[in-house]
Symmetry: C2
């Protein structure tokens, strides 16, 4: 079972590593980290380098596609090669999964029109503008899609997916292996639970960074031959 995880410049590492840590433990799993070009990409804060082992063109198909998020998704949403690859892999995949703003990239590829889906709580409005039927559930399964909320939600999503692919006992064994018996010291992990001043502070920080990312988007050297999917 080939599991392709897309990684890219300015990714949020846990978006990718959470699902990887679960899915790589599935019997028969072959996890491949795929990106624009082989070599090291840096995370959103530039602190960590992750290695792209295979270029997009070298991975023409996969059983499971995992699309993480991170501020870098905006640059990829302008990249016709990446969008075409997502459409191609999704067309043949058993499951197309996303974590956090990874669903915005799936939306940018035109894959989520009319599809129930979710993303990081701060980006639900933007996801809706891609035509997805948004919900703030932590995990949303619909057909071959499974999308989930921000960053850490990828662990929960991957365990649900593991159960679907290999049965509940396998998923439970993986959960025990990674000792996932969560005990956060605070109950502030969702905008339905965090105090308003915390929500405002996080939103302000995210929006400021997003504005900077949008300004810094490179002008495409090779504009796509036809119009890319609308991204209003």
């Amino acid at each position: 079972m080939r599991i392709a995880i897309l990684i890219f410049d300015r990714i949020t590492a846990l978006d990718a590593v959470g699902p990887y840590e679960v899915l790589a433990r599935l019997p028969g799993a072959e996890v491949i980290f795929v990106g624009k070009a082989t070599g090291v990409v840096r995370t959103d804060n530039r602190c960590l380098g992750l290695h792209v082992d295979r270029a997009l063109a070298d991975v023409p198909a996969a059983d499971i596609l995992v699309v993480p998020g991170g501020f870098g998704w905006r640059a990829l949403a302008e990249d016709p090669e990446v969008l075409a690859w997502l459409r191609q892999i999704h067309a043949g995949a058993r499951i197309t999964a996303s974590v956090c703003t990874g669903s915005l990239l799936l939306g940018s590829a035109g894959l989520l029109a009319g599809v129930p889906a979710t993303t990081h709580w701060n980006y639900l409005g933007e996801l809706a503008r891609h035509g997805a039927v948004t919900t703030n559930a932590r995990i949303v399964e619909h057909g071959t899609f499974i999308t989930c909320a921000g960053v850490s939600a990828g662990i929960d999503m991957a365990l649900a997916l593991a159960a679907r692919l290999a049965g509940e006992d396998v998923a439970r064994a993986i959960q025990l292996g990674i000792e996932y018996d969560p005990a956060p010291p605070f109950d502030a992990g969702s905008p339905t639970k965090a105090p308003p001043h915390i929500i405002d502070a996080v939103r302000a920080r995210l929006d400021a960074r997003d504005a900077r990312e949008s300004r810094e988007l490179p002008i495409a050297a090779n504009p796509p031959p036809s119009s890319p999917p609308a991204n209003p």
Copy 2:
């Protein structure tokens, strides 16, 4: 605030990436991934490459030391350079943290004699043999040490540490930023909760891999000039 995260061949990625994703969001954080030599190390299952940005000798001090686990800890426990570096960084650090079997590496460096500490549930007995006062609590804080349970526990540990370093509101904002409102689909993340046949299966798999790792340990090319800390 310099945060040094040790990474190494056959690391468990989430052990490092969980705490990183939390601690990198602390105001003034400078996170550095440190290892034996700069370049890419591969994770325990060989599926993912993480980039070592700085060699041990180039990081003579840090405010926070984070030691992740993974099967590769056994090879490092035979490596005098690594053990000396751990002792050196710990001596000047405000906090020495470990995730999963990272505490066994701290123990191998002789740092945990008489210290309350924990590790992945399958390795508590081995940790006790290093002189630590073991407990199966998810997070154990004692003086400048903070150790935690297996793999995913590093997220909880790092949030507790974030609160200690920067206050509860900062920790809550980080928790909301990574949308850490965990909802595992099963309640099997601890040996106190998982069914016995699941515990037996996971233990058998871990023990088999450990036995293989022990057989594959390289003979040290340069034995240490003096006796390393006892590792019975």
